[in-house]
């Protein structure tokens, strides 16, 4: 597709060697001299006021260096999501959390923290803290919590609620005239989904190590965006941003949205304890803490009403969502906003009405997870489209060929549809899954029924204009001609530390091995938003391209001045600056000092002038003249829609309700592929997360006590290698005009439409039009579906 030198190549990830050797450093691997260990006391009740709390016994335990509760801890209100640094002026910023509060709002809410010489002492001390609670009424289901006669879970922050127990603003998206749209339709289908909350289940739990040096705070942590955390910490601890350093060490064991902003309370508790004990403090969440007290994907209710004409033309889409926010707002309205705007944009529909909001409950706070609200709407709308297709006797693939949004179409997203290969993706996916066998499979009427389903979707490549989203990068050419690129990305496993270097190498036209990336460290990178919203390659990459243009112009201008020509007479090829017409212009004296002997040099002869000069030679000559090339790149005000589709081939056992995934195919429009291995890895991993979401993953609560049933990894149904079906990862490339070398977002998209494809496949296998669907499709749920529809 192109003649790029670095882009599109299966370049080995730069961190691969360290990682296979066990040398890669994560936050848990940071050990500082004199470091203390933290443990946290968590609430055992879902909603209660703390009547009294006594820490004297804990404080008296030898080896305990600090004990903190709401009584002696800074009480700034904040929001642990990136919101604080992302919400534009004029939008509602909900800050409803404190490090510790005198009210606990879910089982697992933080009550106290201890720093001690060892983990064992900290654990023992936690058990010595006496807390007396006054229990308050609690709610597990948003449909209960939103009723007017319930207790308000944040009664002291009513000004931040748009309705009873509804933090922030609802989303309302409208287009055309919805009633007219239904009046014009020949058929109307309706479907409701009840969707369980699920976990990111990143393998590294939230972690932080905080230390105080001179008048600075330094914190190593597992966040997905170091610069955002720095802003949050400045707000919470009332310390200037310039005095805080936040870094990944540099590796992060997965993210999937769970730490867009603070890593739960890991950073704030480690810092508060370090300030109190005047020693470095390490705090690592246990897996139980991760499961009960770190953010989840939103569960809740989504319903759709869809109208179409006999020929399949869609006329009206009405959608509603009520999501379970859990105890604190975190990402708040952005989640139900994304749910609505993405899924009213998939299909060309003239009349649209979406209304969505999230309700506080006394469950684990729901925050961001890969897909950010999109999957919950995606499964619902795609299900309705399949029901409509069946009603009209149209093949679901054909229905989508006819109605899917395409390049240049108007849709509800606030950035134009500048590229899409969705049509090609659907054809490729249909071929790979053998869609033509669907009708034949449907003929099987025995105990095991077979069917196929699909789903399509779109997303974003960054936060603009939903939230603030801009990005910066520096490029410095060192005195030996090697290239340092600095940008505040985090590599949470996506491989952006490699793909961003590929982008820099391509943009400067230097060999990849000359480029080094500095990232995930606030002290050496400019401000930026890090790795979330499928933005790392798109936004950091765009900023790097801009910085490369800037530094390239400096290099060419300087070289031109030495050669006595115009910079337009020069080009850079493979790290060599040369005259386009091959004329000999560079005087011999500038090649004189050769000290970086492992770098590239121009072969010199007797001539006085030469037609080219290497990066090393030019940078070193500039250095000898007291000059360095430094480029700055900034980007804002841009976004682009990735597109994708999923196909599932399933068998359903009518007696047991067990679903077997015979084959699964994901096809993605990511614009230009920067690194095929990274792209395929993202698609495979995302697909399996989506499959787990469809088939078994769920967090559940004891309704009488508010206690989470799932508090060990063994109780959570994430797929293992045993449960992994045949999966295919494919892409159809086309350059996105706004992307770096044509790339757009991918990080989240692979886990968005698998549930839609699987639910559609199961309904196809069972030949039913269930209008009340529960996700995940556990065997019991499937048996209920069979019974209800027979």
């Amino acid at each position: 597709m192109n003649d790029y030198k670095s882009i599109g190549k299966r370049v080995m990830r730069r961190d691969a060697r360290e990682k296979v050797l066990g040398e890669a450093k994560f936050t848990c691997d940071v050990y500082l001299p004199g470091m203390l260990h933290a443990k946290v006391l968590r609430s055992t009740l879902p909603h209660a006021r703390i009547k009294s709390i006594d820490t004297t016994k804990a404080e008296a335990l030898p080896g305990v260096r600090a004990v903190l509760t709401y009584k002696n801890t800074i009480d700034t209100l904040y929001n642990q999501a990136a919101a604080l640094m992302e919400i534009a002026e004029g939008q509602t910023l909900v800050m409803d959390q404190k490090i510790f509060d005198n009210v606990v709002r879910f089982v697992g809410d933080e009550v106290a923290a201890v720093a001690a010489d060892t983990v064992e002492i900290a654990e023992a001390a936690i058990k010595l803290i006496d807390v007396e609670y006054e229990p308050l009424p609690f709610y597990i289901d948003p449909l209960d919590a939103e009723k007017q006669d319930t207790v308000n879970i944040h009664a002291d922050k009513l000004h931040l609620q748009s309705a009873h127990n509804v933090p922030g603003d609802p989303s309302h998206i409208k287009k055309g005239d919805i009633e007219k749209g239904f009046a014009e339709s020949d058929e109307i289908v309706e479907v409701k989904f009840k969707i369980a909350p699920v976990k990111q289940m990143q393998m590294e739990t939230h972690s932080a190590v905080a230390s105080l040096e001179d008048d600075r705070i330094t914190v190593y942590c597992s966040t997905q965006n170091v610069q955002v955390v720095r802003g949050q910490l400045a707000h919470i601890f009332k310390i200037p941003m310039s005095r805080i350093t936040v870094k990944n060490p540099p590796y992060v064991g997965g993210g999937f949205g769970i730490r867009i902003g603070l890593s739960g309370k890991a950073e704030v508790i480690a810092i508060a304890l370090a300030l109190a004990a005047k020693k470095p403090v390490k705090y690592i969440y246990s897996r139980k803490e991760d499961l009960i007290a770190s953010e989840t994907r939103h569960g809740g209710y989504v319903s759709v009403r869809l109208g179409a004409k006999k020929d399949g033309t869609l006329t009206a889409l009405e959608m509603k969502s009520i999501l379970n926010k859990g105890a604190y707002t975190s990402h708040g309205g952005a989640i139900h906003g994304t749910l609505g705007v993405m899924n009213t944009s998939l299909y060309r529909i003239p009349n649209i009405d979406y209304y969505g909001y999230s309700v506080y409950t006394n469950t684990t706070p729901a925050g961001a997870m890969r897909g950010y609200g999109n999957p919950q709407g995606n499964m619902t709308v795609n299900r309705a489209v399949d029901m409509m297709a069946k009603r009209l006797g149209i093949d679901p693939l054909e229905m989508r060929r006819k109605n899917a949004t395409g390049k240049g179409d108007e849709y509800m997203l606030p950035y134009p549809c500048t590229s899409s290969t969705l049509a090609g993706c659907m054809e490729l996916g249909a071929k790979e899954i053998h869609w033509d066998k669907r009708a034949e499979y449907n003929l099987e009427k025995g105990r095991v029924r077979r069917g196929m389903g699909m789903g399509i979707g779109t997303h974003f490549s960054g936060g603009h204009p939903f939230v603030l989203d801009y990005e910066n990068a520096f490029i410095t050419v060192q005195a030996d001609g090697s290239v340092s690129v600095a940008t505040a990305a985090s590599d949470i496993g996506t491989g952006c530390n490699t793909s961003l270097a590929q982008i820099a190498a391509e943009a400067l036209n230097v060999p990849l091995k000359k480029v080094y990336l500095t990232y995930a460290d606030t002290s050496s990178t400019p401000y930026g938003y890090g790795s979330h919203s499928s933005r790392s390659v798109f936004m950091h990459g765009n900023a790097i391209v801009e910085a490369a243009k800037n530094v390239k112009a400096q290099i060419l201008e300087y070289a031109a001045s030495l050669a006595g020509i115009e910079s337009s007479d020069l080009e850079i090829v493979d790290g060599i600056i040369r005259t386009i017409d091959s004329s000999r212009r560079f005087p011999k004296n500038i090649y004189a000092r050769r000290i970086f002997l492992d770098q590239e040099f121009t072969p010199l002869g007797d001539e006085e002038f030469y037609s080219s000069i290497t990066f090393t030679e030019l940078a070193h000559y500039a250095h000898s003249q007291e000059k360095q090339f430094m480029g700055l790149g900034s980007i804002n005000n841009t976004n682009a829609p990735p597109w994708y589709c999923s196909f599932a081939d399933v068998s359903v056992d009518m007696d047991t309700g067990r679903i077997t995934l015979n084959n699964f195919v994901g096809v993605h429009d990511v614009g230009t592929v920067i690194n095929p291995d990274c792209v395929e890895g993202q698609i495979n991993g995302g697909n399996l997360q989506g499959i787990g979401y469809a088939l078994g993953e769920a967090l559940t609560y004891d309704e009488r006590t508010g206690i989470q049933y799932v508090n060990e990894i063994q109780q959570y149904m994430q797929p293992t290698i045993m449960g992994t079906p045949d999966m295919g990862a494919y892409y159809v490339e086309e350059k996105e005009p706004n992307g770096p070398f044509g790339a757009k977002g991918l990080g989240e998209t692979p886990c968005i439409s698998p549930v839609a494809a699987i639910v559609n496949a199961v309904c196809n296998a069972l030949d039913i039009d269930d209008d009340d669907i529960k996700v995940p499709l556990t065997p019991q749920v499937v048996l209920d579906m069979i019974k209800k529809n027979s």
Partner: protein, 159 residues
């Protein structure tokens, strides 16, 4: 808590540690012996991030009291590459893009090595059984399995 002297072989070297016999092996390896490649994902035996080889068998080191390894041989991720040469599974994981966040990677490599040591010719069911206890949330296991298949074939060629 009384500390006992416990002796075992770690990556081929004799080691003495002073520990409470009930301390979990993973904590001793990481905190006392300073080998940080072995990771903790759950401490309940449910994720495989802490996998090490104990007398040749892959085990979760978060479930093994260090007292139980006295006199035995423990191999961690740091002991998989021998004489500065990567094990074929390490090569294959690197080359095939089977490493993403890398948090599960040491555990997966140790499980795979234990498999190869016992059965250099594993079929897909053997691979699935050997890796069942290793949770990876990034890769969907696809490239991991490809890497294991490739490593097995390289081992057979060399052997």
């Amino acid at each position: 808590m009384s500390l006992k002297k416990i002796s075992f072989f770690l990556n081929g070297e004799a080691k003495d540690v002073y520990a409470n016999p009930g301390d979990m092996l993973v904590d001793v390896i990481r905190d006392k012996l300073g080998l940080l490649g072995t990771k903790v994902g759950c401490k309940t035996g449910g994720c495989g991030a802490c996998t090490v080889m104990l007398d040749g068998l892959a085990v979760n080191s978060c479930m093994i009291p260090v007292g139980k390894v006295a006199g035995k041989s423990v191999v961690t991720i740091e002991g998989v590459a021998e004489n500065n040469e990567l094990h074929p599974i390490q090569e294959a994981m690197m080359e095939d893009g089977a490493v993403q966040c890398g948090y599960c990677t040491p555990g997966i490599i140790v499980s795979a090595k234990a498999l190869f040591d016992e059965n250099p010719n594993p079929d897909s069911e053997d691979i699935h059984r050997a890796l069942e206890g290793n949770i990876c949330r990034c890769t969907g296991y696809i490239k991991v399995e490809e890497a294991i298949v490739k490593a097995a074939s390289n081992i057979r060629k060399e052997g």
